[in-house]
Symmetry: C2
Subunit: 457 residues, 2 copies
């Protein structure tokens, strides 16, 4: 039997893709089934993502729906949508029947509005259908939108033996039993029990005498990011979801939370890089343009603003002051870098609930930090400029400006995300092009004002 | 009993911190114990992080080591280190005794070298000690460094009844039973069994007839990031770790993976923002300077480089060309923004194993994308400059430069992370200040060269 064990490192090869393509094109169904039978559904999903929509749809129609439903859920949303668009509502309903309620509701929610009801109408299992319809009523960013209806619940009045019997029935449809939730006659959540506890209890004991009355839960309207924080903080692998009367509605498992954490981190990362929407390297040029162009446009407006400011200064400054303009890219770059650094640390701290204390204290700390960094960098710049031009005042003007610009950039970078967060706006928006562009302009104005006064133009 | 159920949203209030501080300062041990008894160890860890080291150490010494060991593991590494520094090796060994082997090994690894052996020598449980010593031999970035020795293993020759009996003994020390691992007489991993399977099997059946021979595992030397990818892809909640002979060594659970994913995402985010090392908003000014100054220095060198280039151009250009220099911040900002956007998408794609196909195809796609964005932005810039100055050639020179600069910035942003990745270097280093600084310089050179030739200076 040993040979069946696998060190699961799977990587797609061009050879494998070619082979699958050939088999599909020659409609060699038997060979396709035999080949794909070896692979995990997550691996098949990866293979299908590398095929054309026609080819992948062919395979989806060929395999059993218990397998294809899992494959579809593992695929990229875009690729899945393309395949679903080619399936009939009946075929989609068959996939839905095989999925857990949370995945089923997600798949339906992705369909165009006009297809959603048609698909739901075709679901044969009435309980499954009602549960999916319930899940579709919750906002996708809340605990209700993330939870599954599949869970193991036992009544406090059962005995351990009755409980095991009931569970055998329920557990059929629950892939992983994390906790057994104990409810009273009104379906209110009153405690929990682990399989381990059940395994170790006397068969005749009543559940009411063996269950653990301390159970953590979240409200169905709780924000998913808060659910993620709670599950991480308390190291929970599953958490029950209740309504305002504590009636047990569903449960959220840690693998859903892993997805929430990843998506949140990717969104923040993309915003810091000046990319909106959830795009990937493999998206189309148009999708990528939509995500990138607005931020570039913001940068362009900032650059034009900087030009206008410099233009008016240039008119007032004497000819020999042209050298000042040669340092504007340096000043702007430093203002941008410092701003991004300080805003990123605040954004990350806010995401982790790590930012305690008052805004004033934050700003004082950032000012000291920026001053320290600024002075070190300015000393270097002073000696460079002085060595280059032997003009003490010029070197002084540029160096002093750099310190001031760095301090102000640090303060802006700290203040804006804190301010947005207080206002209930996602502070991650502040990082990246937004901060760099505004700091470019502030930096250049401050630099030219300080230089002008020191050099006495 | 219902009142014990809790909707677990805990937030620290200043009032709570003040109360705890007062109780500690007045050494009112009884009241401290009574107050903290209400809280989860993760909440107590948060409270302690807000106290002085003396105060938090006082509480750690007051509470039982089964609780304090958990509290210490939940705390920030810096705060934990400060407290451990005030504890004797004997006291630390007592904490270690209470921890699972993976946490225990992590705590010991954080101690200064000269204390590590002294602490290990004080561990009384010889089996625990040997397991911790084994874990300390693995690299922290490998499966071995992440795994715990606590797991439930059963021999294929046992009956279900024997198995349940043996498991009761083993399960005592295993907090969560995910899977039961089945081994042969040589301790080789040959399969698995879920608690659910065991619950449903006949008590007299032999394990060899009920176990599932298909079991996923990872090698003890596997990189943790790869383990994280595998567990996410296959939705695993735990995975066994084996040596080269498939001997079962330990297991990794999904909560450890959540930490790996978060740390990885935070590291990439910080690198994109120009911050090295793992710093937080609450770290000291010196720590933050160490993490930020090197990148700022890189930016300064870039700015000086840009100055030198512009200086030599300026000498060659006629007086009226001064207006060109007023656009350098715009050009540099756009080059930087495009570079960060394209490198961020590649870095994220590489992290998700999403970047397929050849480097050439990537570069061609980015070139088309950058050209599209560049042309749209340049049309806007052309009309602005022309409206401002009514000089067709000037407007043309600046706009053409912008398109070319954006394309080249996009190519650099795409190429560098792909190149670093091929070389086995973390591509995330490429994002942020590194890309913006090099693109600033490239951008300005290209801009001045193109303008010079179009304007015929």
């Amino acid at each position: 039997m040993e040979e069946q064990n696998e060190n699961i490192k799977f990587s797609i090869s061009d050879a494998l893709i070619n082979k699958v393509e050939q088999l599909v094109d020659s409609q060699n169904d038997e060979a396709i089934l035999e080949l794909l039978n070896e692979y995990h559904h997550a691996d098949i999903a990866e293979i299908l993502e590398d095929l054309s929509t026609n080819q992948s749809t062919y395979i989806i129609k060929l395999l059993d729906s218990d397998k294809t439903s899992e494959i579809l859920m593992e695929m990229d949303e875009d690729d899945r949508e393309k395949i679903l668009a080619t399936l009939s509502t009946k075929e989609i309903a068959e996939e839905i029947e095989e999925l857990d309620t949370d995945d089923a509701a997600d798949m339906i929610a992705e369909l165009p509005d006009y297809r959603q009801e048609a698909v739901i109408a075709q679901i044969e299992d009435q309980e499954h259908k009602a549960e999916i319809q319930e899940l579709l009523t919750y906002d996708e960013d809340t605990a209700g939108g993330l939870m599954a209806k599949e869970l193991v619940r036992v009544n406090e009045n059962w005995t351990v033996t009755e409980c095991v019997k009931q569970m055998r029935a329920q557990a059929e449809e629950v892939t992983r039993v994390h906790s057994i939730y104990v409810v009273d006659d009104k379906e209110k959540l009153i405690g929990r029990l682990s399989l381990k506890d059940l395994l170790m209890a006397s068969p005749r004991a009543h559940i009411s005498t063996v269950y653990i009355p301390k159970v953590d839960y979240v409200d169905v309207n709780e924000d998913v990011e808060d659910v993620a924080k709670i599950m991480q903080k308390y190291d929970l692998e599953a958490i029950p979801v209740v309504d305002e009367n504590k009636v047990l509605l569903g449960r959220i498992t840690i693998d859903d939370i892993v997805d929430v954490i990843k998506e949140e981190a990717e969104k923040d990362y993309q915003l810091a890089a000046g990319i909106t929407q959830d795009v990937e390297a493999d998206d189309s040029i148009l999708q990528l343009t939509r995500a990138r162009l607005p931020w570039l446009f913001l940068g362009l407006i900032g650059g034009v603003g900087a030009f206008i400011i410099m233009y008016f200064f240039e008119k007032e400054l004497p000819e020999e002051a042209v050298i000042l303009f040669l340092f504007t890219p340096l000043i702007a770059a430093m203002a941008g870098n410092v701003g991004v650094q300080s805003s990123a640390i605040i954004v990350q701290g806010l995401a982790n609930d790590d930012v305690k204390g008052s805004i004033n204290n934050r700003l004082i700390k950032e000012m000291l930090l920026a001053a320290l960094n600024g002075i070190i960098l300015s000393i270097f710049l002073f000696f460079f400029v002085f060595a280059w031009k032997q003009e003490f005042n010029l070197a002084l003007a540029i160096s002093v400006s750099l310190v001031v610009v760095i301090i102000i950039a640090g303060l802006i970078g700290t203040f804006i995300p804190l301010f947005l967060d207080k206002r209930g706006i996602d502070p991650a928006i502040a990082t990246g092009p937004f901060i760099t562009t505004s700091n470019d302009i502030f930096g250049i104005v401050i630099y030219l004002l300080i230089s002008k006064s020191i050099l006495g133009f």
